[in-house]
Amino acid sequence: MLETKYPTEPLKCWNKAKTLRENYYKDFAEAHEKGGLRWAGGAWSFDAIPAGLGDDVYSLTGEPYGATVAFNDKFALECQEATEARGFARDLCSYMRNYWGSILINKYAWPQFSEEFPKADFIWQDHICCSHSKWYQVASELEGGIPMFSIDVSVGPYEELTDHKINYIVGQMHDGINWLEKVTGRDYDDELLIKAVKNEFRSCHYWAAICELNKAIPAPLDEKSMYSLYVLGTLKKSAQWTADFYEKELYPEVKDRVARGIAAVGNEKCRIMTDTQPPWAFLRIFRYLEQYGCVSIGSLYTFGLIGLWEVKADGTWGPKTIPEIEITNRDEALRALADWNLSKPEWQHFYHPKLKSDMMIRIAKEWKLDGVFLHFNRGCEGLSLGIAENRLAIQKAGIPNMPFEGNMGDEREFDLERTMKRVDAFMESIDMEKIRKF
């Protein structure tokens, strides 16, 4: 038994989060049986826009699907080998390879809902990472030519945003809606769009608010658990069920945990954050950290993939304020949506590593961290870009850090034993003793 310093208790809404996630994959698989539509695209796509086609339009976002595959190591290997046999290189995005593999072997990661990989009716994507559009171009080809629309969002960092850049994106969104009407044969409902945009504001705001609560000592949430919670925003951030879950269930519960001093890790002595996606098949490394009384309070990745942030009056980071604007038509909705998404923290560091370093150093200070783990993630070039420079900046800021190599979606490129040894060395260097040694 590990010594306990703080009270702990399971999250009451944990099972609800699990059910929402399951329902999402079930709905996608069964959409056609209900007369609905299926679309595929990235977790960062503007999912509020296809919402205007009706309430019976269901999505499958690629990154969370790739992570789901990765978590099931046997299935992941089957997918990866199928992708490699088809001639794709092993150093491509591992989520993408898992997704393609799932198409190639025609197996769904949720066999209880569909044994075959459910084919989407159309692809709705955006493009900021070098793989995004290519991912779905190939997916479309592998599935016999699914119609695809992709929006280029790589207009530079939010701090340099101009009307011209917004217009560039909004113009593509308008074109996209015309395209959606054409390929689906449905009329577009702007009221549904406006509702979805408002849901997205709430989802992104409240997820950030939940992460902000982790500034508390002890932290009410640990990152391993947060992965099962933030995922809802990556599945469908514009859905009412996501926004309601974050605002009405998870946020109040976590706030209550802070008020009562409920810890995620009962023996919390040390706080770290990670960086980029974890090696999904090896989440037990977080449990290993607990042997040192170490809690990972999250990361820029878990905070900023879906959560939106702003600097508050006191200079600290807090959830981005939900715009107090009246949205009356399609154009206003699209402009608000474009502006909102372009401030996404995880989009900023595609432009310069300094932007990411600054945010990470801010988190390390405001969340009172003892160290940072940096995942040199061979499975994601986009989010690993500049990570060596991040390390130098974090070092310079005097924050202990530990880089490790791995791959979020391909377990063949992660060495658990060596990583644990590296964790041991890091913990010794910051004077943390293993509670169970020998």
Partner: protein
């Protein structure tokens, strides 16, 4: 107070017996059963020092195989052992390069010998001793002769391959081109030095720097590192040989454990 530091390395298991000073050291191939090898090398070091097993107050183990050594009292990571052992020998050292058979490590320490930062090359044999072994086989030169031979080189040849497999192909090509063995060996040493100085730069170069581990016994490699960095590294000689520094560190940490 006699303590023992055991370094269960991936290739060799080293032991250091300490009591105010180093009493003896010994080394053996780690083999398949690391615990048996550790027992064997410990007995050998005890014999050399004329000490009985019962006189040992504490055994601390480090190294890649440390979890297999169940008879040890405590364990410690190689990073911490390197820091402790090197600081004991050279208190002026702020950066350590430890290159063993299969792993290269760099450690930054403060003025009290405490670890500030570290880096580990655990995935590329081209930066470790295994590379020299592979090349000595390809060149049909005894591994012990590699260092001296490279000092006779008259020509610098760049080696571009980034991994042992491709580097070996490059060496074979050089052999076919009738390149002097001495020049090829120097190129091999330069390649390993390149990889390790690159890792060193990731944590920041701060003098003095010490080179430890089995590779520090290779004079040609030490020269390559010195050339690459533009100054001389400190290589342990008097207190213990460079491959025993981790074991020494473990023995010193064992002393700390007894003293509380």
């Amino acid at each position: 107070m006699i303590t023992v530091g055991l370094d269960a390395g991936s290739k060799n298991t080293k032991v250091c017996i300490f009591d105010d000073k180093v009493l003896s050291t010994a080394s053996v191939l780690s083999g398949f059963d690391q615990e048996e090898s550790a027992e064997q090398v410990l007995n050998s070091a005890l014999d050399k020092a004329g000490i009985k097993r019962e006189e040992i107050k504490h055994i601390t183990v480090t190294g890649a195989g440390m979890d297999a050594i169940k008879f040890a009292d405590t364990n410690i990571t190689t990073i911490t052992a390197d820091a402790r052992g090197t600081y004991f020998i050279f208190p002026s050292v702020r950066t350590i390069v430890d290159i063993g058979a299969e792993e290269g490590r760099v450690v930054k320490i403060d003025e009290h010998g405490k670890v500030k930062d570290f880096g580990i090359n655990e995935k590329c044999a081209a930066g470790a001793g295994a590379f020299i072994e592979a090349m000595s086989r390809a060149l049909e030169v005894e591994i012990e002769e590699m260092g001296e031979l490279s000092l006779k080189s008259t020509k610098q040849i760049p080696m571009n391959a980034q991994c042992t497999i491709f580097a070996e192909s490059e060496v074979v090509s050089l052999i076919h081109q009738k390149t002097n063995k001495e020049d090829i060996i120097r190129a091999v040493h330069d390649a390993i030095a390149d990889r390790n100085t690159s890792m060193l730069r990731q944590i920041g170069i701060e003098k003095d720097i010490s080179l430890i581990g089995g590779m520090a016994k290779n004079i040609g490699f030490v020269e390559a590192m010195n050339r690459n960095l533009g100054f001389d590294l400190l290589v342990p000689k008097d207190v213990v040989a460079p491959e025993y520094v981790s074991a020494l560190g473990a023995a010193l940490i064992a002393q700390d454990k007894i003293r509380g």
